[in-house]
Structures are given as structure tokens and as C-alpha cells.
């Protein structure tokens, strides 16, 4: 049925679960629609003008009560069905948005009108996303301009990509092949050109693809370079005279802030701390870090994030 397609490829562990919701709704709503259609057509024909059929209806309080009972039934029954579906659909959704701890990160920067992906190993790609089969992958995404949305119908996943913050998406692809990648949030003139391919590879093939350009520095290495170029080590370095938090072992820790909050040092916090340092000062430090807003692109910032991450290994396990 390639010429008349009804269902997209099922290429991720989510796909079957989402399809089950779809089939359940198709059956449930199909039955309701059919019941309404059959009843209306049947009544309309049987009780059409001019037919001699029995039209006597009950009257009095007994009849009123009966009608009321009918109304209660057809209010409560759909409500109960909808609530059951609500629970099921919400449960699937939470599975879809809860990123597994062991997910392999890939960083994505969207811009009018292309997708940039960067692997921690250093490989970079445009409008293509190479991923290994049977391994959870987490996309950490941001936009350089307007809102975009990353959609991979074959995986049944989608998430808006916003300027000014990170959003995440995860999946475990379970069928090698090539799948569509669409931008589904209207983003300007060439919105419909902002498409690409997801290439799901066997794990061995993926590893050799990653190491094909082993001369490319890793993201963390590039991040370290920027870190020095921007003079971050002037304060955060081991020999620095200025008192600033040391970054070793920081990632993944809970850190108290000067304003009383306690935050988890994750990608989002590092981003905020670089761009809006005065609002994210750790407890015990002065608010003397300058903002790097406007001086650093989203991709460079992600590399710095990856560098800070690399300084603080062994962290996810410590979390409660």
C-alpha cells in the first residue's frame, strides 16, 4: 500500500504506544459517530413526515424522571470513558517526556532555515541526524532566531525549539533506515525547506561514522578553547586571584544560590549563568561576573556547556 499510505513508519520505541492511543480513539470515536449516524438516519426515516407509526410519548412525572435518567447516563458514560482515556494518554506522554538517565546527548541548534546538530564527539551535521539504533538519544535544542519545532513522525515525537532557552526531546530508534525530520512551527519564508533526514544506523556502523573524522576536536575540546579565548579561566581557573566558583565536579550538583534558591547545575543553569550571571550567583560569591550575552553564539555556548559537563563527570548517579 505504498501508493496509498495510512500509517507512518514505526521506528522508535514510542511509536507503538502512540499508535495504540490512535487506534483506541479511532475505535471509540468511530463507534460514537456510527451510533449517532445510525440513530439519526433510522429515526429520520422511520419518523419521516407522513408515515403512520406510533408516536405516542409518555407524559407526567414518571416519564420526566425516565428522560432525566437517560440524560444522566449519556453525560456520565462519555465522561467516564474520556477520563479513562485521559489517564492512559497522559501516562504515555510522561513516558515520552521523561529522558532516561543514560541517554546519549546530541546538541541541536535551529536557525532560519536549517538544523545544525553537534555530537559530543565533535561531528557536526546540517539537516541530517545520524543516530544509533536501540540506544536512547537525547536532543538538547535551542534556536538562534524564531520558534521552530523538531518533528520526526516515524518516531512519533515533536518538540518546539525556542530561542533563549533549551528544550529536550528523546527517543530510542529501533529500526535502521532513513526518516523524515520536519520543522513544524511556522518560521518564515523557507519554513517548508527546513526539513532533513534522520539516519538510524546499526551501533557498529554509527561508531565508525562518528570516528570517520577522528581529527575533529571533541565538543568539549572546542568548548575549552572558547573558555580560554573568552578569558573565563581568569576567574574560574585554579590560579585565579578573583574569587569565582571552580567548575570541576560542578555539573549535576545541587548548588545553593545567594538569593536562597537551590538549583541543579544542568545545561540550562550553565546557559543562564553565562548569559545572566547577576541573577544566578552562587551563595558565598560576589555578583561580579560580566554577562556574555551578545558575545557568544548558541553553538559556542553549547560547546562551553559540554566542556563544563566534561569537568564534572560522575554526577548523574549522585543525584537523588
Amino acid at each position: 500500500m505504498d501508493s496509498l499510505p495510512f500509517f507512518p513508519d514505526r521506528a522508535s520505541t514510542m511509536a507503538g504506544q502512540v499508535d495504540n492511543l490512535y487506534f483506541a480513539w479511532l475505535i471509540l470515536s468511530g463507534l460514537v459517530a456510527l451510533a449517532v449516524a445510525v440513530l439519526i438516519v433510522w429515526f429520520a426515516i422511520r419518523y419521516r413526515q407522513g408515515t403512520a407509526v406510533d408516536r405516542t410519548v409518555g407524559e407526567g412525572p414518571e416519564h420526566e424522571k425516565k428522560m432525566q435518567r437517560i440524560e444522566i447516563v449519556w453525560t456520565v458514560v462519555p465522561l467516564a470513558l474520556f477520563m479513562a482515556m485521559f489517564v492512559w494518554c497522559t501516562e504515555v506522554y510522561y513516558r515520552n517526556v521523561t529522558v532516561p538517565k543514560n541517554a546519549m546527548p546530541i546538541y541541536v541548534v535551529a536557525k532560519q532555515w536549517m538544523w545544525h546538530a553537534e555530537h559530543p564527539a565533535g561531528e557536526r551535521e546540517i539537516n541530517e541526524l545520524h543516530v544509533p539504533v536501540d540506544r536512547p538519544v537525547e536532543l538538547l535544542m535551542t534556536s538562534q532566531d524564531v520558534i521552530h519545532s523538531l518533528s520526526i513522525p516515524g518516531f512519533r515525537i515533536k518538540q518546539d525549539v525556542l530561542p533563549g532557552r533549551y528544550t529536550t526531546l528523546w527517543f530510542t530508534a529501533n529500526r535502521p533506515g532513513e526518516y523524515h525530520l520536519f520543522c513544524t512551527q511556522f518560521c518564515g519564508t523557507s519554513h517548508s525547506h527546513m526539513v532533513g533526514r534522520v539516519i538510524v544506523m546499526e551501533q557498529v556502523a554509527f561508531e565508525s561514522w562518528l570516528s570517520a573524522h577522528s581529527n575533529v576536536p571533541t565538543m568539549a575540546a572546542r568548548g575549552a578553547q572558547r573558555y580560554h579565548q573568552l578569558g573565563c579561566d581568569g576567574c574560574h581557573g585554579a590560579q585565579a586571584a578573583v574569587q569565582a566558583p571552580k567548575l570541576e565536579g560542578l555539573f549535576g550538583r545541587q548548588v545553593p544560590l545567594r538569593d536562597g534558591r537551590t538549583v541543579l547545575v544542568d545545561e540550562r543553569y550553565i546557559r543562564d549563568a553565562v548569559l545572566l550571571p547577576s541573577q544566578n550567583v552562587p551563595a558565598g560569591y560576589e555578583a561580579n561576573m560580566p554577562s556574555y550575552r551578545g558575545q557568544i553564539g548558541e553553538e559556542e555556548l553549547l560547546e562551553i556547556v559540554e566542556y563544563v559537563k566534561s569537568l564534572g563527570n560522575a554526577t548523574h548517579e549522585e543525584m537523588p
Binding site: Q49, T56, F82, S151
Partner: protein, 544 residues
């Protein structure tokens, strides 16, 4: 409803009708008669429907091939934006309330006019001013943001005429607010003696519920558009993160208006369908009170579900959960309405005149539109469906299948009352059936291609989606005839149609107790209502 104070008005000479009080420009443009203002709105929105429809026709033609061979992507983006802006704000929102509502609401409550006739005329001028500003912007080069104006694309990045279009919509919004206000006050204060709240026709309940939404929601749209315009011109940082703003705030504000706006479009059609179904079933609407309360419940709950447009926007999963739950709750009164209409057919005396065919089409299409809304309300499933053609199909089933079928049904039902002429019944039945078939052929394939993942607003798409797009475009060509035919024969009927009696359907309701077309002040003596709505004597037929 029965009026004791009015004798037969068949004797009223045609020159006493509201139409006979002058045919020059001035008599129309300075009229305070709600009926004439209703006609002014009808003419205006018909023209605007033509513009929005032409844009839709070009969209469907372009989508016949996956490579956008008819127009450039820039033009395509402007076409769907024009289509959305015109159809939502300049056709669907005013469609039933400003035309049939204006014409009928005072008559159906037994009043001489709306509470504030001058305000009523002013609201039409505002509407025209808003439409002219918008049309100017379209001629000057158009807008490419879609009708949703998402920031920061609209505020910082788009180089099209965003500000002018937003200004047009902003101005037209005030016409909505004033119309809503007028209807609310009229229903509260000007009901005829004996016409208690629970004797009101459901069309009036529908207008009342709609008016509440118009008055409460439209100001939020005005604020949102104003903030967007100010960010665009002065660079105040409200929505664009580069200026320190939050783009999700725009979506919250926008949908706080735009979700209730869906009910502004569909609730009036529910009112129309109720009138038509009871008339051609010769039966009172099953569960009248439940129907009235369901419309109020829809209006109230409708304000609490805007976040279901934002499940993948980056709003928190917990917000999404609450909005999903509330959306399922708002679907219950809609389901109850469909069941009650169905039950109205039981032991009825059904006849299949053209308005009834439209009303049946309305039930069918609204049911499919409502049920597919449940797919979208489901968090886990919406992730796949969001911003695909499934959404496009769903809201066209509700807003075109529901609201436009209701509008056409109502136009046919009350055409004899409004114009004093009968339309050709055969052609009207044919058009109703053609519209139903054309509509399904156009939009049903879009559910399928949506689940396949085809994104909205894509002039260029992968070739495997083409087959469904060809079905859809073929359906659209039928739909064109479904919409153009009534225009032709209704115009024809103005001159050549049979003269309509006061009550051509033997229908209940005060509007049928005055002449067709009604006299300038609607009634010669204030009617007194002595019975419930829809007190159809079971033996009567709509044809005498």
C-alpha cells in the same frame, strides 16, 4: 411560542416592510434598524468570504503537486495567512451573530430593536474600517505570519505588513465587543411579556453565550495585538527573548482569546441547528434546559483550556496535564448536545427541506470535528498530531463543517423572513448535499496525511503525501460549487423567487408571527408569549 396580541399580519402591505423605508445609499449607511444593519453585515462578510475563499482555492491548487509549482513559497505563506486572518476575524467570528443575530435577536425576543441601535451601526462601521485596513495591508504586500502571529517571528523577524493587519484585526475586535454588549443588554432587558429565560429559543441562548465570550475574550486579543505591535515598532521586550521577553507569553495570551473564539464560531451554529431541527422534526428540542446550560458551560469552560494548543510548546508537563483534563471536561457538554439533537428525531415528524439537510450536515461534521478534538486533547497522541494536517482537518470540521453549515442552514431557513422571497428548493437541497460531500472529500484525507506527519503551512512536501492532497484538492473543487450555487440562486430569488408568506415553515417563534419581510418596528403591538419554546403541535406539517 404563541403571541396573543398579534393577529395575522399577512395583510401588511409590502411597502410597510423595513426594506421599503428607502433604497438610497444614505438610508442604508445611516440606518439604525437592526435588520438593515444585519443586511449590511451580510453583504460585507460575503465579500470578505470571497477573498478568503479565493485564497483557499489557490492554496488547494498549489498543493496538487509537491513542489509548489503554482506560486512561490513567499506567496504561499501570504495566501494561508490571508485565508486565516480573513476567514477567522472577518467571516467566522461575525458570521452568524452579526448577520442572523442582528436581524433576528430583537424579533425573537419580541423587541423593536436592540438596546443600543446607534452603537449597533457604529459597530458595523468599525468592522468595515478594520476590514479596509486589513485589505489595504493585503494589497500593499500582505502578511506572512499565519493568522496566529507567533512571536518573535511576528515582532522581530517578519518583513511583511504585520502591524497593519494587526491594526485591522484590533479595530474589528471592537465591533465584536459592541455587538456582544448590545445582545447581552437586549436579552436581559427587552424580552416581551411572558418570555421568561427558559422560554427563550435556543438560538437566543446561543447568542447570549456567544456574546459573553465576545465581551470577555476580545479585549485580551486587543491587548495581545497591541503588545505585539509595540514590540514590533518600539522594540519593547515582551515576547522576543533577545529583548528579554518570553515567546510563550504570546501564545498564552493569544490562545486565551483564540480558543474561546472557536466557541464564538460554533455556538451560534448550535443555536441555528436547534431551531431548524425542532422545526423540521415538528418536535420540541429534547432536553431544552440541558441544551441551554450546555451552551453556557461551553462558554465558561472554553476559557480554561487554551493551553491545549501548547502541549509541545515548552510549557511544563504539569500545565499540559491540567489543560488536557479540562479539555476533556469541555467536550462533555458538546457530546450532550449531539445526543439531544439525535433524541429530538425520536417519534418526530421529519421532513427534509434544505435547511434541515444543512442542519443534518452540521450534526455530522460537527460530530467528527468534536471527536477528533479528543485525539488532540490527548497529551500522548497530540505530540504526533500537533501542527500537522490532522489539526487542519479537525478545526475545519468544526469551523467550516460546523459553523459554515450552520450559517448556510440559517440563511436558508430565515431567507424568506429576511427577504420576503422563497428560494428554489431543489437547487438548495442539491447545494446542501454537494457541500457535505465536497467538504468530506476535502478534509477527511487531511486526517490521514496528518497522522503520516505532513506539517501545516508547507507548500513543498514529500511526494508520498501527494495522493491525499490530490483527493483534498478535488474535494475543494466540489466545495466551490457548493458555496457559489447558493449565492447564485439566492440572488436570483430576490427578483424571481415566489413571494414568501409570514410563516412558510409553520414554525414556532416570534419571528414567524410578523410579516415577511418584517415591518420597520418588527411588531405593530408588543407580542405576549404564553407558551414554551418549540410548542409544535404534533400533527402540523411544515408545509401547512
Amino acid at each position: 411560542m404563541n403571541s396573543t396580541a398579534i393577529a395575522s399580519h399577512d395583510a401588511i402591505a409590502a411597502d410597510e416592510s423595513y426594506l421599503s423605508s428607502g433604497w438610497n445609499w444614505r438610508s442604508w449607511l445611516s440606518t439604525l434598524d437592526h435588520k438593515r444593519i444585519g443586511i449590511l453585515y451580510t453583504v460585507t462578510i460575503t465579500l470578505l468570504f470571497g477573498i478568503g475563499g479565493a485564497a483557499a482555492a489557490l492554496i488547494r491548487l498549489d498543493l496538487l503537486t509537491p513542489h509548489s509549482q503554482l506560486v512561490s513559497v513567499e506567496t504561499y505563506n501570504k495566501l494561508f495567512s490571508v485565508h486565516g486572518v480573513i476567514m477567522v476575524w472577518f467571516f467566522l467570528i461575525p458570521s452568524i451573530p452579526a448577520t442572523l443575530g442582528n436581524f433576528l435577536l430583537p424579533i425573537m425576543v419580541g423587541a423593536r430593536d436592540v438596546a443600543f441601535p446607534r452603537l449597533n451601526l457604529f459597530s458595523w462601521y468599525l468592522f468595515v474600517a478594520g476590514a479596509l485596513v486589513t485589505i489595504y495591508a493585503l494589497l500593499a504586500g500582505g502578511v506572512d505570519t499565519g493568522w496566529t502571529f507567533y512571536a518573535p517571528y511576528s515582532t522581530t523577524f517578519s518583513s511583511s505588513h504585520v502591524f497593519a493587519v494587526a491594526t485591522g484585526v484590533f479595530i474589528a475586535g471592537f465591533s465584536s465587543i459592541l455587538t456582544g454588549l448590545n445582545f447581552i443588554v437586549t436579552v436581559h432587558t427587552m424580552r416581551a411579556p411572558g418570555l421568561s429565560w427558559f422560554r427563550l429559543p435556543l438560538f437566543i441562548w446561543a447568542m447570549y453565550a456567544t456574546s459573553l465570550i465576545l465581551v470577555l475574550a476580545t479585549p485580551v486579543l486587543a491587548m495581545t495585538l497591541m503588545l505585539m505591535g509595540m514590540e514590533r515598532i518600539f522594540g519593547i521586550g515582551v515576547f522576543d527573548p533577545a529583548l528579554g521577553g518570553d515567546p510563550l507569553l504570546f501564545q498564552h495570551l493569544f490562545w486565551f482569546y483564540s480558543h474561546p473564539a472557536v466557541y464564538i464560531m460554533i455556538v451560534p451554529a448550535m443555536g441555528v441547528a436547534s431551531e431548524i431541527i425542532s422545526c423540521f422534526c415538528r418536535n420540541s428540542i429534547f432536553g431544552y434546559r440541558a441544551m441551554a446550560f450546555a451552551m453556557l458551560a461551553i462558554a465558561a469552560f472554553g476559557f480554561l483550556v487554551w493551553g491545549h494548543h501548547m502541549f509541545v510548546s515548552g510549557q511544563s508537563a504539569y500545565s499540559g496535564t491540567v489543560f488536557s483534563l479540562l479539555t476533556f471536561l469541555v467536550s462533555v457538554p458538546s457530546a450532550v448536545k449531539v445526543f439531544n439533537w439525535t433524541a429530538t428525531f425520536y417519534k418526530a415528524r421529519v421532513s427534509f427541506d434544505a435547511p434541515m439537510l444543512y442542519a443534518l450536515g452540521f450534526i455530522g461534521l460537527f460530530t467528527i470535528g468534536g471527536l477528533t478534538g479528543l485525539f488532540l486533547a490527548s497529551l500522548g497522541l497530540d505530540v504526533q498530531l500537533h501542527d500537522t494536517y490532522f489539526v487542519v482537518a479537525h478545526f475545519h470540521y468544526v469551523m467550516v463543517g460546523g459553523a459554515v453549515m450552520g450559517f448556510f442552514g440559517g440563511m436558508h431557513f430565515w431567507w424568506p423572513k429576511i427577504t420576503g422571497r422563497m428560494y428554489p428548493e431543489g437547487w438548495a437541497r442539491f447545494s446542501a448535499i454537494l457541500t457535505f460531500i465536497g467538504f468530506n472529500l476535502t478534509f477527511f484525507p487531511q486526517f490521514i496525511v496528518g497522522y503520516l506527519g505532513m506539517p501545516r503551512r508547507y507548500p513543498i512536501y514529500p511526494p508520498e503525501f501527494q495522493v491525499w492532497n490530490v483527493f483534498s484538492s478535488a474535494g475543494a473543487s466540489l466545495l466551490v460549487f457548493g458555496y457559489v450555487l447558493p449565492f447564485v440562486y439566492l440572488m436570483w430569488s430576490l427578483r424571481y423567487g415566489a413571494v414568501a408568506p409570514a410563516n412558510p415553515w409553520n414554525a414556532k417563534g416570534l419571528e414567524w408571527e410578523t410579516a415577511s419581510p418584517p415591518p420597520s418596528h418588527n411588531f405593530h403591538a408588543t407580542p405576549v408569549v404564553t407558551e414554551e419554546a418549540y410548542a409544535y403541535a404534533r400533527a402540523e406539517s411544515p408545509h401547512g
